[in-house]
């Protein structure tokens, strides 16, 4: 059941903010989760919703990254649900959470009509007439005040209904953040409780995505293929790194890590990797000797053959987007996140992406949906309408691309491997098709199905 929520959140992560709202509603209905907020009738669904939220808090409170991800998903879900509320329900909700904001009276609104119109961009004059405006104390509307997108009137911000979600989301985020901090503190006590222990253990087991360090596909790629592969099957970040490497005969540390581990993930053996990097670096300013002494060591280190012999896993999209931003002279990172939009546009144009496609990508980038932008990039370069899976990892991109190009998409059921890197629900490449089928074939899932019984009790 928890996994279903996880899948649910994963769907939301991808599509909810993309206005695939109907799809989300559909999914929620299937999973028997409340899709209409405050609907009194489906008690069981709401109970499930509540309980699962709190359990997830336990699972996700432990690290900064996890918390951030969890809060982001919850906020997306919240935003979706809130936007579905009708006006009277909004009032009811506000009372319920003690955010007692009053709407301004019609007279006041009439008097301030022009000022309201001039201070809320994105609101036409008709909308100003229709929508309610709420009187919000200044401290609750800081984000809007800071950018001067709200009218201030004698100590209150007059916020239109459609921006209220921002105010409430802020409030929600603050509360959830504090709650997670508290949860983390009480975690030790909780973990020792017998009833919860197996559940939590399963949670950490299930948030496992394929980490692409599995050696299944080693040796299948030859070095000669790489240039062609970089155009056909690399995600844009790796294509950029490869191009920079070919042009400059060098990459800095961040780039070497990101690209090097990716290459390992697509199946390059250590020997191949050494040859690859060496031959390229030698063309530049590095002589063979220097390479062997310095760079070769770190490549072997990446393969777990040096030092503490950890077999490093290729970076996931989250990791690339969130950590180690590139600076001048770097080529690593996620171009959708880290490149200046103008430069990104030029790059996409040079890759012969259509201008409609480019606009779509830039729109997604503007909305900070970097992985969705990459998915769009996949769709445009592979000439498909729907990528068919949520993109979380550059190696996943590569694998899927290769599959597509070699003819025939196999059902994604086959794709799930338990592995262990980030605690993220990456295991549901399954999502977009009916979620029902996916749960059955996965070993981890069958274990978890038993958990449904925890909740079927009483």
């Amino acid at each position: 059941m928890v996994l279903k929520i996880v899948e649910n959140l994963g769907v939301k992560y991808l599509k909810g903010t993309d206005e695939y709202k109907s799809k989300l509603e559909h999914e929620l209905r299937k999973l028997k989760f409340p899709y209409k907020a405050l609907a009194e009738d489906d008690y069981d669904a709401r109970r499930k919703d509540h309980i699962s939220h709190f359990i997830l808090r336990l699972a996700y409170c432990q690290s900064e990254d996890l918390r951030r991800w969890f809060i982001q998903q919850e906020m997306d879900l919240f935003r979706y649900r809130f936007n579905e509320l009708s006006d009277p329900l909004v009032q009811q909700f506000l009372e319920y959470v003690n955010l007692l904001y009053e709407p301004i009276s019609k007279d006041v609104k009439k008097r301030l009509k022009d000022e309201l119109f001039m201070s809320t961009p994105g609101l036409s004059a008709e909308k100003v007439e229709e929508q309610s405006f709420y009187k919000i104390p200044l401290q609750d509307a800081q984000d809007l005040i800071r950018v001067r997108r709200v009218l201030l009137n004698y100590g209150f911000a007059l916020v239109p209904h459609q921006d209220m979600v921002v105010i409430i989301l802020n409030n929600y985020r603050t509360k959830l953040s504090k709650a997670l901090a508290l949860t983390a503190r009480s975690l030790p006590a909780v973990q020792s409780d017998e009833r919860l222990q197996p559940l939590l253990n399963h949670l950490s087991h299930s948030y496992i995505g394929p980490d692409y360090s599995a050696q299944k596909n080693t040796g299948k790629i030859s070095l000669e293929q790489i240039d062609a592969l970089s155009v056909k099957s690399y995600p844009i970040c790796m294509r950029q790194l490869h191009k920079a490497l070919r042009e400059n005969h060098h990459l800095r540390h961040g780039g070497r890590m990101q690209y090097g581990l990716f290459l390992k993930g697509i199946g390059l053996t250590l020997e191949q990797a050494l040859e690859f990097w060496r031959s390229e670096f030698i063309r530049g300013k590095i002589d063979a000797d220097k390479f062997d002494k310095g760079y070769a060591y770190s490549i072997r280190h990446n393969y777990g053959k040096e030092g503490k012999r950890t077999d490093y896993t290729p970076f996931s999209c989250m990791k690339i987007i969130l950590s180690n931003p590139p600076s001048q002279g770097d080529y690593h990172g996620c171009p959708f996140r880290h490149s200046d939009p103008e430069l990104l546009k030029q790059k996409l144009q040079s890759y012969k992406i259509s201008s409609t496609g480019i606009s779509q990508i830039l729109e997604l980038v503007k909305g900070m949906h970097y992985q969705l932008a990459c998915q769009k990039y996949f769709e445009l370069t592979h000439d498909v309408d729907d990528i068919g899976f949520p993109l979380n990892h550059p190696n996943q991109y590569f694998v899927e691309s290769q599959k597509l190009l070699s003819g025939g998409r196999e059902l994604k059921k086959e794709m799930s491997h338990p592995g262990s890197s980030q605690l993220k629900p990456t295991s549901q490449e399954s999502i977009n098709s009916s979620s029902a089928t996916t749960t059955s074939n996965n070993e981890a899932d069958t274990e978890l199905e038993g958990l449904d019984e925890y909740f079927a009790e009483d």
Partner: protein, 384 residues
């Protein structure tokens, strides 16, 4: 003022003061149990400058005895600092610490714009504008609710109030686009009241090539006609004529160029750091400015146009006036009955009096408001 509050116990004792002593020795975290203790210490130490800080969770003088993290700033007035030096790129008459009657208008404009925003937008009631003693003005906002504002809210307010962005390497510092927020349009109307007199006549920004080049630098290229021949304008038409040039160019793009220029020359430039931090210390009103000797006096905003920074008393002029008053006293000593002779407080016999009056009104307003609030609350509770 810090005294006359009907505040909870210990409020004054948790207020931080700082002194600047001779030889530039700066001591922080001074706190006093009662106002009389502050007075005594002032007389003893004779600091050159007294700054007022926040009200903390504990007595500042004991902050070292607390474990880290326990000593927190809890409340402080919202303060603003507008400094003439920040306008050096747009004033031609003076630079850095100098001021003159021509550029002082900038402070007048700043006060009018900021004060309007404080009252009409932010709902502030109790604020005191103070001349800093040399080249700028401060504002102390003392409403009870405002004193509790978090640092992030103060920061948002500073952003809301800021329009002039960019440092030495930014030429064009103001950019406007549709829709224009009422804060900006109202501020613009205030600037327009002064612009012709201040900028075109006083500062003469179109008077010579060097100056008008600076103005032209703010005009986007697609509007500027080739060659600056359109710049032979009559002063009386001022910037409107530049506007005429721009509208005669073929592209009719919506342009706020004239407004942007006016704002860049006149809109208030705040020192954000002063306003954002809860623990920031600011010079106390009525202190003496070490470099000019002038007293930081409150400004009567009802008579804003008449304020003259050069007429503000200096410490030496005050001393002189006090001496003269004492001499008068000595003459009268023999004549009057000691009991009926009321010893008028010294400062009231000097030119400081009107400024003190402004201050007293300000404090009275606050007290009245507080009494009203207390009454209201006790009514609600049904106290008898």
């Amino acid at each position: 003022w810090a005294v006359t509050r009907g505040m909870e116990k210990g409020y004054f004792a948790r207020r931080e003061f700082s002194f600047t002593l001779r030889d530039d020795i700066y001591v922080r975290y001074q706190s006093f149990e009662r106002p009389q203790d502050l007075e005594k210490e002032l007389q003893k130490a004779c600091p050159y400058k007294v700054d007022i800080g926040a009200v903390y969770s504990h007595r500042p003088s004991q902050h070292n005895t607390l474990r880290s993290g326990a000593f927190q700033a809890q409340e402080k007035e919202l303060v603003f600092d507008v400094d003439m030096t920040d306008y050096d790129d747009v004033r031609g008459c003076c630079s850095s610490a100098e001021i003159c009657s021509k550029c002082w208008t900038l402070m007048t404009i700043a006060i009018r714009i900021l004060d309007r925003a404080l009252v009409e937008d932010l709902g502030v009631q109790h604020r005191l504008w103070v001349y800093s003693g040399r080249r700028g003005v401060h504002c102390w906002v003392c409403d009870d609710t405002v004193r509790k504002w978090s640092s992030s809210l103060r920061s948002s307010i500073v952003d809301y109030l800021s329009l002039v962005k960019g440092g030495a390497d930014t030429v064009k510092k103001v950019h406007l686009s549709d829709p224009v927020h009422p804060f900006i349009s109202k501020s613009l109307r205030l600037v327009e009241e002064y612009f012709e007199q201040y900028a075109l006549l006083g500062q003469d920004i179109l008077g010579c090539r060097e100056s008008w080049d600076k103005v032209l630098a703010l005009v986007p290229e697609h509007i500027l006609l080739p060659g600056s021949s359109c710049l032979s304008l009559r002063l009386g038409e001022g910037l409107a004529a530049v506007g005429a040039c721009s509208s005669s160019s073929s592209k009719k793009l919506p342009s706020y160029t004239e407004q942007e220029i006016m704002l860049q020359f006149c809109f208030p430039r705040l020192d954000g750091n002063v306003s954002k931090g809860l623990n920031h210390l600011l010079k106390s009103p009525f202190s003496v400015h070490p470099k000019t000797g002038r007293i930081s006096v409150p400004i009567d905003i009802q008579r804003l146009e008449q304020f003259d920074p050069f007429a503000v008393p200096t410490i030496s002029s005050l001393c002189r006036e006090l001496d003269e008053a004492n001499d008068e006293d000595k003459d009268k000593e023999n004549e009057e009955d000691p009991e009926s002779r009321r010893r008028v407080r010294d400062y009231k016999r000097t030119s400081l009096a009107p400024y003190v009056r402004v201050f007293e009104c300000f404090v009275e307003d606050m007290e009245r408001a507080r009494r009203g609030e207390l009454l209201r609350r006790s009514d609600l509770q049904g106290d008898f």
